[in-house]
């Protein structure tokens, strides 16, 4: 791999903030393929960051900083890709369900999915069933991700899935769920397509869902 790609990868993975922008600028100057900068520099770095997070080697602070650097890098490179549109791994619509305003975990999932090259539409928090259905109709994502921290709002996930079924969209999307009080058994019981116990697992799950 080109030395500059290794430097970019390291800057994100090891959180060397001062190195990132100069390395990317040098890579662009050197005529490296922007897609390679994204895939081998940024996405590959975030893959490592994700598994280090999952394995308890790094924690929320490190993860957030790496994700921020990855975003900074993407911002520089994106305009260089023909027509401004790059090839995405898939589109994910994500949000915290109605009655729940907790979003730290969901935001980390968003960052890692973006870091893995997914196009993520973050619908925010306190998301009504109708909002989800409307956005699915409008944006046609492959995946819908639902988050809840509260036991009191977990039932909203089932309602959302039911509404997707009623509106005829259920077989066009995969639904993944997550949040502290959830587990696989709950996900199965509400008819979700997948459950992830942390953000790195959510990325693997999303990858499986779009390649299935």
């Amino acid at each position: 791999m080109h030395e500059l790609l290794i430097k970019i990868n390291d800057a994100v993975q090891k959180r060397q903030q001062a190195e990132l922008v100069p390395s990317i600028e040098a890579a662009i100057e050197a005529g490296l393929n922007p897609k390679a900068i994204i895939d081998d520099g940024l996405i590959a770095a975030m893959d490592v960051v994700g598994s280090e997070f999952s394995d308890g080697i790094i924690f929320v602070p490190e993860m957030l900083v790496s994700a921020m650097l990855m975003k900074q890098g993407l911002k520089l490179i994106k305009p260089l890709i023909a027509g401004g549109s790059d090839e995405k791994k898939g589109k994910v619509l994500i949000g915290t369900v109605k009655g729940d305003l907790h979003d730290i975990g969901k935001n980390i999932v968003v960052m890692l999915l973006e870091g893995a090259g997914f196009e993520v539409v973050d619908l925010g928090v306190d998301l009504s069933v109708d909002q989800v259905v409307k956005k699915v109709a409008e944006l046609k994502p492959q995946i819908v991700g639902l988050s809840a921290l509260l036991t009191t709002t977990m039932p909203e996930m089932q309602k959302t899935i039911a509404a997707l079924t009623e509106s005829g969209f259920r077989d066009q999307v995969k639904v993944m769920v997550g949040g502290a009080p959830l587990n696989q058994a709950f996900a199965d019981s509400i008819g979700a397509d997948g459950y992830a116990k942390d953000a790195a697992e959510a990325v693997s799950l999303a990858r499986r869902m779009v390649s299935a």
Binding site: R15, Q17, G56, I58, F59, V60, P61, E62, L64, V65, M68, K98, G99, D100, L101, H102, I104, G105, N107, D126, S128, L150, T151, T152, A180, P181, K197, D198
Partner: protein, 383 residues
């Protein structure tokens, strides 16, 4: 043996007549809706009243505490004179700015207020001095505190717990900064984190000093806390915790113990097992809530590992058993906890967190009645 003796014995890692019970604290009370249902169930014809506006929880009344066999009684801070709870109706829901300038929103769909505005999100260190901090010397905070503590202490019937957490210096700091920004700064802007924690801790200790001056001698336990972990692991690395939090925990504990003989209680949700040795080292006496369904937080394993070095307070699962389980499930949970974590004392039982609005009132009763039925020493071999 009365409640106070039972409570003190347990915290001193001795077996009293039974395992003590708690309800009514900062993190061990009950949602107003569930409380009202519980009142009906107990044949009491009044409505629950919100005491903690942020979480929409009550401070349970004496008749309920007696019926449930609760061994603790709380002394809470008074309301400041310089700030009043004035929710404003907005198109997104009810909105409150608290005395620190943080904004909280309760949409119609939500059961409580949620942090939505962090006033120091974009601040630099130099901005901290000019920030309009709340006044820890506001005499309103002391309203009724000394009298309540003295009366409870002189009556000698119950364990007296001081809830002066004031949302705690650690949680307050990240609420002011916004959680994601705060956590990022722990890596990328360490000086700011040290500065804001120094500020919130100094305000907290100033208030605590005022409170302890008027009632320190009457208290058995003082509440401290701040969430350091999520479901699977700590939120920050143990090294980051040791850099930012532990030295300040130590300072706070020393401050408290110089002013009172009360034991220090630390609340942190989540999987904190990698930090418990540090908690013991700084002088924390009690760990709450022992979130038993979080990774590494099984009460049996923790009891085996820590024995009488730290007391556990909480332990009844609020993520699955209390909201979704049957009465029999709650009883099984209670018996499991008693069997594995009550031997030799060192255990106070309550739900892992404030009892939420989705918990059936029967399950609340099953928790309290269960401990009174099976929590008698010597513990039965048939638990």
């Amino acid at each position: 043996m009365n409640s106070k003796e039972r409570f003190i014995a347990a915290l001193n890692h001795q077996e009293a007549d039974r395992v003590p019970l708690d309800l009514g604290g900062w993190v061990s009370t009950i949602n107003v809706k569930t409380y009202t249902r519980l009142l009906r169930k107990l044949g009491i014809q009044r409505e629950g009243e919100v005491f903690d506006w942020l979480r929409q929880n009550v401070s349970p009344e004496e008749d309920v505490l007696e019926r449930l066999g609760v061994d603790t009684r709380y002394v809470h801070l008074g309301a400041p004179h310089s700030w009043h709870f004035e929710p404003e109706q907005t198109d997104r829901g009810l909105y409150v700015t608290d005395e620190w300038g943080c904004g909280f929103l309760m949409p119609e769909s939500s059961l409580y207020y949620n942090l939505v505005h962090s006033p120091l999100k974009d601040a630099a260190i130099d901005d901290l001095d000019a920030y309009p901090w709340p006044d820890p010397d506001d005499s309103g905070y002391l309203d009724g505190v000394a009298r309540r503590a003295r009366e409870l202490s002189e009556a000698g019937e119950y364990g007296v717990v001081g809830n002066f957490a004031w949302e705690t210096w650690f949680e307050r700091a990240w609420k002011l900064r916004a959680m994601d920004r705060f956590y990022m700064d722990m890596v990328a802007n360490k000086e700011f984190i040290h500065a804001i924690l120094d500020k919130t801790l100094s305000l907290h200790l100033r208030l605590l000093g005022n409170v302890l001056e008027v009632c320190g001698q009457y208290l058995d336990v003082i509440i401290q806390g701040g969430d350091l972990a999520g479901q699977n692991t700590t939120l920050m690395s143990p090294a980051t915790y040791r850099e930012f939090i532990k030295p300040r925990q130590e300072k706070a504990v020393r401050f408290i113990k110089e002013r009172t003989r009360a034991k220090v209680f630390w609340h942190s949700c989540g999987a904190v097992s990698s930090l418990i040795d540090d908690f013991i080292e700084v002088g924390i006496d009690i760990l709450n809530p022992v979130q038993v369904r979080a990774t590494g937080m099984d009460a049996a394993a923790l009891k085996k590992r820590y024995g009488n070095r730290i007391a556990f307070w909480g332990g009844v699962d609020s993520q699955q058993v209390l909201p979704n389980g049957s009465v029999a499930d709650v009883e099984t949970e209670v018996r499991h906890l008693l069997k594995h974590a009550a031997t030799g004392g060192g255990l106070v039982v309550c739900a892992v967190h404030n009892i939420q609005a989705d918990v059936p009132e029967e399950n609340v009763l099953a928790l309290y009645d269960g401990v009174r039925r099976w929590g008698n020493y010597p513990l039965s071999r048939d638990l």
